[in-house]
Symmetry: C2
Subunit: 333 residues, 2 copies
DNA sequence: AGCGGGTGTGCAACCGGTTGCACATTTGTC
DNA sequence: GACAAATGTGCAACCGGTTGCACACCCGCT
């Protein structure tokens, strides 16, 4: 069906090598031959087969994009930015949806079979070992939104969740809240753990602060809502909650509204991520920004460069967060 | 680095063909040989290279997933379901993000170079001709969420937007609204056009209905909000609006709340899609359901089967919508 | 023992490209 | 005009698999 190298070569009256060279940047081809080849190629609608050439060049220009966060609205932005950043560099995202899988073996095997040039693991919940499995299988890999560690085995690009937790603690303290709660995501997610650690540590700097802790079943609206409804029933509420993620905050907000409680007058809320929806005027969530686009830009840059330079030294690339003041905490007095 | 057919063959003391056959379903291999080969393969961690085999089999098991709706929250669900449905059949999604591109040439070229087995165009805004371009280039293609036409050149799977528009009209009529508005998505999107057509036609069956029309700049929260703010300034509002999409409705809702108007007491709203967020209790949007998961299941089934059977007869597969009663329209009297 | 049919395996060509090497041709230099 | 260097092109091998064909082998049957 589709024209091949041979077809073009015959039509142009040259060898297959000549045609191949006419299509590879930097090869030497006489101007006249090049013209003849281009004409023949145009006439036949010829395009070199990327997969066939990958066999000899060892490059497919495909990048595995592995994720498990298909329920958090922020990932719409994440996928948008990743795919565009990759496309801008001529790379193609091969998408892998993990859905509850925590064992990397399947993905590793599959992405090896497809000879991807590199892998991006985009997840704030997977353990460090997940991304390392790709590295062990010989693939360049970066872990975006992953846990910040000082000497990682693979590149990690994200925020320092512990610092973000501290920032939340400090923010609540300065607004005069004393009796506060942590409403985290799933307890086994690294981001939940680190945000909790930082939050608790930040609070402990101020003797008068007290903390109650609970975990939602997932990073999703319903999970946040259910957990907050439970809290409303169970015991007196805290004055303010640090939610492990914006979508949890919004769920919590909905629960509080249902219970007839006003935010921030009765209960304060602060989220994390600053996803697009947080600034919707009917939500107007005070939150901590996650510099998603910087993280993604850096991730793609790193995966692209470690394809070229396989023995590059992995590091943690950490971007800083800032508090975004909106309407779900009382103002600083 | 990675083990190849040859390595396994040498280790097992057989020919390369034997190894190949041991890995292809239905080929005849003596039990004893198979065992030796499997041992050797395990020892070397061998996995057949999917791309190399695609050269001779003509199948890559990759499917191009082309979309331009990376800002509508419903697409998070869409990507989740598509990737899972594809994976369940052993297919791999190669994601293409169009971002403002309306010319299919680039995508067609790229997906041909990667020899994808088929293409899914997932978009409610692209013209019919877009998906047809892949068909013309010899690739099996389905258009999910595309315009319903009676004799399409490629498979179209989605809802009948004209019928959905009529349904919205009828719903508003039965609830006693007489003076209504259409707040559409971008005027050049096929879904906007068809929903408008159906809505206007539905209204015209009742002499006493009157209609005002306006279009938001895109299928996005801010676009809906901005347009509704403009309407609030410009002229007396209609009693109720049919918004071309849930996310527009939510934007409109936010605008109305800001203006101190109550929904549904002062103004009614009905959306379309029934995305997850529409049932969030602080939104609680009355809307028309879009049977997304049926559409996706059917799309994947069709693309997979038209890979096997290339000269299959394309058709429009239309799923029906229903009104989802929630809190943004006054009750039927 | 002889024969027919089925099963298992290797050879070699092929899929659609790339690339080292050898050689021919052009170009530049004095 | 002679010679070296630079440039352009084809041959053939290779990337990692698949597959048609030929052939060897084993089995059961008369």
């Amino acid at each position: 069906m589709a024209a091949t190298l041979k077809d073009v070569a015959e039509r142009a009256g040259v060898s297959r090598s000549a045609v191949s060279r006419a299509f590879t940047k930097g090869a030497s081809v006489a101007p006249a031959t090049r013209r003849r080849i281009e004409q023949a190629a145009d006439a036949l609608g010829y395009r070199p087969n990327a997969l066939a050439s990958s066999l000899t060049t060892g490059r497919t220009k495909m990048i595995g994009l592995v994720s498990n966060n298909f329920h958090n609205p922020i990932f719409l932005t994440v996928f948008d930015l990743f795919t565009r950043a990759l496309q801008d560099r001529g790379l193609r995202p091969l998408l892998v949806n993990l859905t509850d899988e925590t064992d990397p073996d399947n993905s590793v095997r599959m992405l090896r079979q497809y000879s991807v040039d590199g892998v991006i693991v985009a997840s704030s919940t997977l353990p460090v070992s997940f991304a390392e499995a790709f590295h062990a299988a010989g693939m360049p890999v970066v872990h975006s939104f992953g846990r910040h560690v000082t000497f990682p085995k693979v590149d990690v690009i994200g925020i320092d969740n512990i610092a973000a937790g501290r920032m939340a603690a400090e923010t609540l303290y300065r607004r005069g809240y004393r009796n506060v709660g942590f409403l985290g995501g799933p307890a086994n997610a690294t981001s939940t753990q680190d945000r909790y650690t930082g939050f608790a540590e930040g609070l402990s700097r101020h003797a008068e602060m007290s903390l109650t802790t609970s975990y939602a079943a997932g990073y999703a609206f319903e999970a946040g809502r259910d957990e907050m409804l439970r809290l409303c029933e169970a015991a007196p509420l805290a004055e303010a909650y640090f939610c492990g993620d914006d979508v949890l905050s919004i769920g919590a907000l909905s629960a509080l509204q249902d219970k007839g409680l006003r935010v921030p007058d009765d209960v304060g809320l602060i989220g994390l991520n600053n996803m697009a929806m947080a600034q919707w005027q009917n939500i107007n969530l005070t939150t901590i920004s996650n510099p998603v686009s910087q993280i993604i830009e850096k991730s793609v840059e790193l995966v692209a460069s470690s394809v070229e330079n396989p023995d590059h030294r992995p590091a943690a690339h950490t971007f800083s967060c800032t508090v975004v003041e909106r309407g779900t905490l009382r103002p600083e007095s």
